[in-house]
Symmetry: C2
Subunit: 310 residues, 2 copies
């Protein structure tokens, strides 16, 4: 059983109450915490030594990644992060200086985005370090961007360049908080998600939540330099395009917008964020299929995104 | 380095912002999330296989404990829990039925207290199951009970009976949410904490936060039947009274109130909660010392509470 199947079983019948606006299944939970003008965003995410980072990863980068992953989920809702709690599981003999450097990486990123760290917990996890970050944030009422809003004929966009993140970017990426809020404030964005499972996998999350299909234009998919370099090696597991479609941990924004807004959005983006690439990579179509179009026509793309536990 | 020393180093200079009402160091963080009438409570807590439960623990009880610990912290602030996120670290080969039963135990407790479970995450923790619960709740503005409010001459109270929790109660305890809110609504409670580190250890948290000492009356300390049974065994590590003072995981409420309220409070409590013992166990005094008074006089009690990592 992989992570997706397990989560499906576990989230089948969860307890709910009237505070819940959006429960399990989007980038963050959305709660009504009684504020007139805003809703509460709530998210947790964990990184584990030997899984999400190695023994050789600089501890500051471990801390950066642990918090940045959660921040990226707040970005995907067009929200603003407020405060974090950090739970850290440690072997009985731990290196206090190493742990302090993990916090240092986290604190630097938190300061940069105005996030308070308001406590947490240390516990014993004998074999390896595990860091679980819980984050609350806010979004103006009516402004949360869900996975479920995509409509047929929408244009599909992605920020940055994709694939090969595990070569280094996954430890250093900047969550797209500013960009996401700017998008939500200036354009009628229909659906948004942050890329953690790979473009194809996360597109399928939007497709499923919105009840639509997507047709990607092969030549429009932005492939990272890292993905190209890896694909050019003799032992490459997959071509660069497939890496861009299926590698995990890009932490870029994937979103859809009404097609008539596509060109104005691209123009405004170039002025606002001249250093960050934005690509229109395809369109939302009827059906439930993810297809890839090239000069020979369109065919279904069936390779999965990154599947945890796989 | 033990948990307390590490936390001291890690929480020395945490990033903050204007939403923070109470940061690290109390039972929950308290945040201003923009609601006119209430503040947000925010807490995480983790349980680990082999540390907080054994391979033989029924999975429903593992789930119950994982959520109940967090709920107990919300209780300690006189708050109401709203929604939880559950992060679960699993070995690669996990028993899906076992994990579902963990959730079943959590869901039952969540329903009982009107708590929504709004998602979470599964991740890989190869050697053992780790469950980290994040919880948000609310408390009316001005009603949060902190550790820092105790004043000299206050009476010190504790609910229930203490010690020997690891014999079974730690897996089944009911968080004292109703009782704590009733206390906050009917009496001017000065300081409150839930017992997780043992009576002596948690009293020291109140003493340190409030800048006071406490004198306990030896004969007034409620000792659980389990603690007495363990102490009567030939191989007992400590007398029953010391167990009641230093065993962890009681998850009862410890609080102080102005001494003139002590008798009215005891009377009202008996009518309201006839099945749950409430004991006045001593008084707040000047200084920084925890003393234990018996018929021969008062002497300092120096044994520590339960120290994690010890």
């Amino acid at each position: 059983m992989n992570e997706i199947e397990l989560i499906k079983r576990l989230t089948h019948k969860l307890p709910t109450n009237k505070s819940v606006v959006v429960g399990a299944g989007d980038d963050c939970a959305v709660l009504d915490a009684g504020a007139r003008d805003r809703l509460l965003l709530f998210k947790t995410d964990a990184v584990v030594q030997g899984i999400h980072f190695t023994d050789a990863t600089p501890p500051e980068k471990v801390g950066h990644k642990a918090l940045a992953r959660c921040l990226s989920d707040i970005a995907a809702m067009a929200g603003t992060p407020t405060a974090a709690l950090v739970t850290i599981g440690l072997p009985r003999k731990f290196d206090a200086a190493f742990v302090e450097k993990i916090y240092s990486g986290m604190n630097t990123l938190a300061c940069h985005h105005g996030v308070a760290i308001v406590g947490g917990e240390t516990t014993t996890n004998p074999e390896r370090i595990l860091i679980s970050v819980a984050l609350v944030g806010s979004v103006p009422r009516g402004k949360a961007l869900l996975r479920s809003g995509a409509k047929v004929d929408d244009a599909v966009f992605v920020t940055g360049e994709l694939g090969g993140s595990l070569a280094g970017r996954h430890l250093e990426f900047e969550p797209r908080l500013t960009e996401a809020r700017w998008l939500a404030n200036h354009f009628p964005i229909r659906a948004m998600i942050d890329l953690s499972d790979g473009l194809a996998g996360d597109l399928r999350h939007i497709m499923k939540a919105s009840g639509v299909g997507v047709e990607l234009l092969k030549t429009a998919i932005p492939i990272s330099r890292a993905a190209k370099a890896i694909a050019n090696r003799g032992d490459a597991a997959k071509p660069a395009l497939v890496a861009a479609l299926t590698d995990g941990e890009d932490f870029e924004l994937l979103f859809t917008v009404a097609s008539k807004e596509a060109v104005p959005l691209l123009d405004a983006w170039k002025k606002q964020f001249p250093k960050l690439k934005l690509s229109c990579i395809g369109k939302v179509v009827a059906g439930q299929t993810l297809t890839l179009r090239d000069k020979n026509g369109a065919r279904p793309f069936t390779a999965p995104g990154y599947v945890h536990f796989a």
